[in-house]
């Protein structure tokens, strides 16, 4: 592939449209081209291509071990694929460390909650703002002027998110003491605090009860709706996925076996087989 080539992607021809509930879906934001990821001899992702459009909710589904989390790890820069290209915002993304990817506006949550257990909820969410905090160490060490002001400004932003996700009562609680469902919400808050263009959610509803799932679904929709954030999520609960997402990618054994609207995917023979456990010959 030629790096200097103009970003002439097929998907650029996709027209903007407005969904039934009034959300605007734009052009391609992230384009993954022929991604292959190996761990030694094991192929986790095998030549997968798909894209994520501006403003949409994109789901990645598949059975256990299908390579979904690896895919998210590729997008967030944690794994470097051996083959393939990642295009983000119309530019080919060179190999870069995860923290630089984060600074490009990609935030995520984790399948096994990865909060900072030694800190309070507030501090955890404040870590999401770290990339907006630029005060030097001298100003910080005397805590005057810019350091103080910066802290206040970012705290305001964080408080808005706390308000948005309705976690006011646990603001000063150490996250270690929180129940599972709330931890998931705090993790979402931390990701939101980074004001991402693209939000990756790795099984945001795993292990939740029905009520918590409803809450979380509402928050995900609200985030997409109020902030216009593009969301890519992995989820096992089919009902939730079909309700939430605009388009769905289906993976199985590291390969893509389906891609389209929830209805299209639902009626895809290969997908049905994968989910019904028909043997792969």
């Amino acid at each position: 592939m030629n790096e200097t080539a103009t970003p002439q992607m097929q998907d650029q021809t996709l027209e903007d449209y407005t969904t039934a509930d009034g959300r605007k879906i734009g052009g391609v934001m992230m384009d993954l081209k022929s991604i292959t990821l190996r761990f030694g001899g094991l192929i986790a992702i095998n030549d997968i291509s798909f894209n994520i459009r501006q403003g949409e909710i994109r789901a990645i589904i598949g059975p256990n071990g299908a390579g979904k989390s690896s895919m998210l790890n590729v997008i967030s820069g944690f794994y470097q694929p051996q083959e393939g290209e990642v295009w983000f915002m119309g530019k080919k993304r060179p190999t870069m460390r995860p923290y630089k990817v984060a600074r490009q506006g990609i935030a995520r949550t984790f399948q096994n909650i990865a909060l900072f257990e030694g800190m309070t909820v507030l501090d955890n969410i404040m870590t999401g703002r770290l990339n907006f905090m630029k005060t030097g160490w001298v100003a910080q060490s005397i805590w005057l002027g810019s350091a103080k002001k910066e802290e206040t400004i970012n705290r305001q932003k964080v408080e808005e998110i706390i308000d948005f996700l309705e976690i006011q009562t646990i603001r000063k609680t150490p996250v270690g003491r929180l129940p599972y469902g709330l931890k998931k919400r705090v993790e979402l808050a931390r990701a939101l605090a980074a004001e991402p263009n693209l939000l990756l959610l790795d099984e945001p509803m795993a292990g939740m009860n029905v009520e918590e799932k409803e809450d979380m679904s509402r928050f995900i929709l609200d985030v997409n709706d109020e902030f216009g954030t593009t969301i890519a999520l992995i989820e096992h609960d089919m009902g939730v996925v079909m309700d939430l997402s605009d388009r769905v990618v289906v993976m199985d054994y590291g390969k893509k076996i389906g891609d389209g609207t929830p209805d299209e995917v639902r009626n895809n023979q290969e997908v049905i087989e994968a989910y019904l456990g028909v043997s792969h010959d």
């Binding site: 509930d21 408080e159 808005e160 706390i162 308000d163 006011q168 609200d222 709706d225």
Partner: protein, 648 residues
Amino acid sequence: MTDSNTAVSLPTLLARNVQRRAKAIAYREKEYGIWQTWTWFEAQQEVDALAKGLIALGANRGDYVAIIGRNRPAMYWAGIASQKAGCIPVPLYQDASAEELAYALDHCGARFVIAGDQEQVDKVADVSDELSNLEHVIYLDGRGLRKYDHEQMTAYIDVQKLGREQGDDDELAQRTAELTAQSTCVILYTSGTTSRPKGVVLSNHNVIETAKNSCEFDKLTHKEEILAYLPMAWVGDYIFSMGQALWAGFCVNCPESPDTMQSDLREIGPTYFFAPPQVFESQLTSVMIRMEDASKFKKRMFDHFMKVAKRVGPTLLDGGKVGFKDKLSYQLGKLMVYEPLKDTLGLRRIRVGYTAGEAIGPELFEFYRSLGINLKQLYGQTEATVFITQQKDGAVRADTVGIPSPGVELKIDDNGEVFYRSPGVFVEYYKNAESTASTKAQDGWVATGDAGFIEEDTGQLRIIDRVKDVGKMADNSLFAPKYVENKLKFYPDILESVVFGAERDKCCAFINIDLTSVGNWAERNNVAYASYQELSQHPEVLNIIGRHVSEVNTSIAEDEMLAGCQIHRFLVLHKELDADDGEITRTRKVRRGVIAEKFKDLVDALYDGSSSIYTETEVTYEDGRKGKITATLEIRDATVISREASAA
């Protein structure tokens, strides 16, 4: 110097406060983790912007503006702004159902609704088809409303923006100037224990005079802090957070959310505090529950000092004299228990505290007084702009409700019903001349509907019960159910009780267990239960309740007049009495008639001697669906002290 003669309306009071103390804090609200503050000057800016916005939206003189939402400064400003714009504010209960809202909105013919959030907007939207007058909804919190049709909806801040940019200052000044003492200040809908709500019209004169008198009575100044957490549609909150706050110029603090009320109370530490008995009761219950888990030493210390407090606390509070040793014990208790306890509860700084709405259990009342909290009783009504009687510092008792408030005249008629006449007496029931006439006489005397008498030596009023609820038993002895119920409710395990016995030969009772307290007991004793119903019928729970009932009987038997009200048989209800089912009012008053009707089979079983009864009950779930629950309830006999024995 401006006094009530020139301060003709709430907007003039606001202007006066701005003039006197522009930079003093007028409102605080916990939001985004800290207490956001507004000075009187800033508050007036906000109010003016909204008022001008309302005018720009087309509000006319005399239009009705309904206000529905939780206590927030912006909602209070909405009330003042409506008045400034020449409109009449109508605060409505935020937990009212859509039908209840529809009735009130239709009854007053509101053209504008100012709603707190999506929940309120949804309710209004649900019924808007039936409301021909309703034109525009203004919402405060835009969360989730982005996709709503905005043709007839505007955000609060956008209305203010409209007012700031296109508002007509002259028009606003003109309309505000037209307000007189006699013009309507607010319409408040009574919750109505028996009939449909009635809209009580209060004039500026009513509100301002009452506020002035009551502030002087308790020497309230601009230094007070209050927490506004009671429903805005309730007259009490209107007087405390609007009338008195504007008159005295003190700061109104709004909690972050209903869930955080307790912690916000602690942070603010109000100096002037009002709460109905239920709030004090649930607080006491939680104190007792939390102390259950304390170490042995701490628990013994707590019990010891609470005994000391009970013995000498109230005396000290009333300025009485106690022995040196007791005084020392009390001081030690103050250091070890009372002050820290009051501080944790957020009641430490209270200078003046009131409870009203319902009779408070004497033990409950004494508990708070013994800690050194100046908790007093007042007796009031919406129709009186709250104050009818109240207690003076140093003359506080659990069984009376105080002397007539300044400017109030009292009289008792032959049936024992209490009548009053005062500057606070309401103008009329809106669009209900018939009820107005039956309640308010031509000469200004208003019937309270309560039976009571004035103690000769102290001049304090004593309320027995509702006139229609004080009855006679079959043997013609006095039947005062509320008296007994209050005694029962003092036990943390008992949330609610309903006593029957009018025209019967003995009294029987329904009991509601308190799930928090009993659930806590179950947890500590490893009692497993799957539901409220199962817990309520647990034999051990019934034993506990049985003991409480017997203790209450013993206490009642001490008063010869009421000895007949002892409870002979009781059952524990399988569901909580619920406002959604119409069994209690939104202010948690028992609707005796409704309950007697609905649970007729149970009442009958209490009196026919059967030991258990199978019953089916219709319930309404939170989302409004209806369902049926069935249960077999055990009926127990309680120990009763015979009259001969108590007389002997």
